[in-house]
Each structure stands twice: as C-alpha cells, then as structure tokens.
Amino acid sequence: MGDKIILEDKFQKRIDAGEKIEPKDWMPEKYRKTHIRQISQHAHSEIVGMLPEGNWITRAPSLRRKVGLLAKVQDEAGHGLYLYSAAETLGISRDQLFDQLHTGKAKYSSIFNYPTLSWADIGAIGWLVDGAAIINQVMLTRTSFGPYARAMVRICKEESFHQRQGYEIMLGLANGTPEQKEMAQDALNRFWWPSLMMFGPRDEDSPNTEQSVKWKIKRKTNDELRQQFIDITVPQAEYIGLTIPDPDLKWNEERGHYDFGEIDWDEFWTVVKGNGPCNKERLQARIDAWDEGSWVRDAAMSYAEKQANQIGKEKLAS
C-alpha cells in the first residue's frame, strides 16, 4: 500500500513538472479509467456530431456550401478516429468503445441531441458549438496524457476552419434577405442555451473538477470556461446584428465580464438523461450504421485472412 502511495506521488510530481504521461508508463488505475472515459466520450461526440450536420449535406443551398459542409463532417469522422486511437493506447479496443456507446454506457455531448431544423442551424453549430468546443480543446492540447494531447493538437489545427465556416454562414444570412435573417435569429435562439450547457453543470455541482485540474484534463472550471465563451461570443453576435436570447445579458463593468441569465438546468438534466429531442434517433442511427456494416467488416477480414494464407502457401511452395 505504501509503495502505491509513493508511486502515485511520483506520478503526480511528473505531471506537475509538465511531463507527459505515455501509454506504457505506470499510471494510477483511476487515471487510466478516467482517460478512457473522457477520451471516448470526446470521440463519441465527434461521430454522433456528424449526424445533425450530415442531415443538411444533401440539402445544402449551394455547391460551395455543400463541399464545405461535406469536408467538415468528414473531418469530424477523422477527429473521432484520432481520439478512438488515443483511447486504444490505454488497452481498450474501438469495438468495445462503440459497444459502450451503443448500449448507452458511454455518453456524448448533449448538444447533438438537438435537431437541425433549418440551414441556419448549420451556421449556428459551426459558430457556437464549434466555438464552445474549441475553448475546451485548446486547453486539452496541453493535457498530461501524451496521446490525448497529440490528438488534440491535430484536431485544433484542422478545426480552425470549422468555426470560420459557421460564422461566415451566419454573417451571410444576417446580411441577407429578411427571411434569411429571421432564419439566422431563430437558429441562434434555439442553439444559444444548449451551447452554454456544453460546459457542463455549475462548479458546485461538478464534483470531478479538482481531480481533472490535477491531471490537466482541465485547466479552468466549467463556470470559468462558460464565462469565457460568453465574453467572446456576445460581440460576435452584435457584429452581425443578431440578438442573444437572454434578457438578463449585460456587460458588468466591475467584473469585466457579461452577466447572464439562469440556464434551464431541468432541460439540461432531461437531455443528459436521454430524453432530449433526438437522443433516441441519434443513438439508433449509430447502431444501424454499425449493424448494417457488420457483414462488410466480416467480409474484409475473411478476405484478408484468405489472402494471407494464399501468400503463406506460395512461400512454402517456392
């Protein structure tokens, strides 16, 4: 027991000194479990996140928008892949991680349980949802677990165009016809509060924060990050003439931050617990893709084995 405490102490000192932890290094079991959970949750969010946006690929309003959106949703598949790979270094397979998603054991970001009802939602997601995600992700490029930090570096590099794309869509709509502006405002109205919920419960309701900060999975608390997002985003909305749907929102000179209204935490927990507008549909879409792909995956393996045997035989014969 004493040995374990010494090891854990040494481990924490390495992290404190800014060293990275690599997969084969000794690590506390809790560190491993927490990372599998957090990285896979992040990966699941990327691939479930493909669905609400994928919803509009076939209906994109112009060719330029269509290829931009296709490339973006494809990037999300890539990001999911990088993250699953990072989780796999901790000794769990991608199939096992998928199984956790499909059976409801693993979570993904609740924001993707909201429907995309108009083209403007694609703009709102890029601007707000990716904007909120970037704040988290930039922080994670310096997290303690090496494979996770490296995946985040790659993701952040690729992701920079996503938010720009989203904001550009909103900018175009806000400067467009009255119908387009209305579409943009409606999307902002629907996505504003769920975007704020992306940062998680209030600090006093978030028991894991302290441990996460110690391991550098987090460098700021939920409430700090939420405030940072609001402070960045409000002027962006003003710039394009859209109104944030929060009557209590106003600049607080003394704090140097915006004050904002109360989040509907009942809604937050309803969606987290699986009863949001699209939870069932999103999960079912992933399960269907997996089940329908099963014969394809099996066939490819079977073919590869046959080929390998064939080559083996030829080598023996020669």
């Binding site: 084969k24 892949l81 790979s85 397979s93 790659r154 399960i287 089940d291 099996d298 390998a308």
Partner: protein, 100 residues
C-alpha cells in the same frame, strides 16, 4: 432499439508513418484500423493526407512493433545522458572558425 454486438474479429490496428515531402523522414502520424495492409494504405491516404500532408506512406501492423518498456527507460537511455562527447558542442573551437 436495435442490437449491437462486438464482432469477434475487429480489423487490426496499423501504425501510420507519413513522409510530408521528399528529403524528410517518415514520421508517425497516428493509427487506424484496416483489414489488410493494402487497405491500411488506402485508409491512411484518406484519413491522414486529406490536406496534402504526404508524399509517401508506410503502414505497420501495431502488433508487429517491438517497443522498449518504460521501466527499462533508465537503463536504456540514462547512460547516454553523461556522454556529452557525442554532441558537437562538447568541443571548444575558436569562434572565428566558421562552418565546422
């Protein structure tokens, strides 16, 4: 809700190495799953060179890699730490000398 089963034969993992341009070495880009090496090359092309990141790809089954264990790191790497004579800055030369 539909069933979802873990397949008994998951596609194996491959490590992907990319040469970003001629004259540079291949560097580890990440990993991915593929049924065979041929597919691993194609997947690597689609996953890791979407933004023209490469001119050449190596793929290696992850299971084929032999690695040092981190608890051996001390005996393997620390002995090199005091062999400063392997580094060019160990040798003092007059600063007027250039290009050496």
């Amino acid at each position: 809700m539909g069933k979802s089963e873990i397949s008994k034969n998951e596609w194996p993992l491959y490590e992907i190495f990319i040469r970003s341009k001629n004259g540079l070495e291949h560097r580890h880009a990440g990993s991915l799953h593929a049924a065979d090496a041929e597919m691993a090359i194609e997947n690597a092309r689609d996953v890791y060179t979407r933004r023209q990141e490469g001119v050449s790809i190596w793929v290696v089954p992850s299971a084929e890699i032999t690695a040092t264990q981190s608890d051996e790191a001390g005996e393997l790497f620390e002995p090199a730490a005091d062999k400063v004579y392997r580094h060019p800055t160990f040798y003092d030369l007059p600063i007027e000398l250039k290009h050496i």
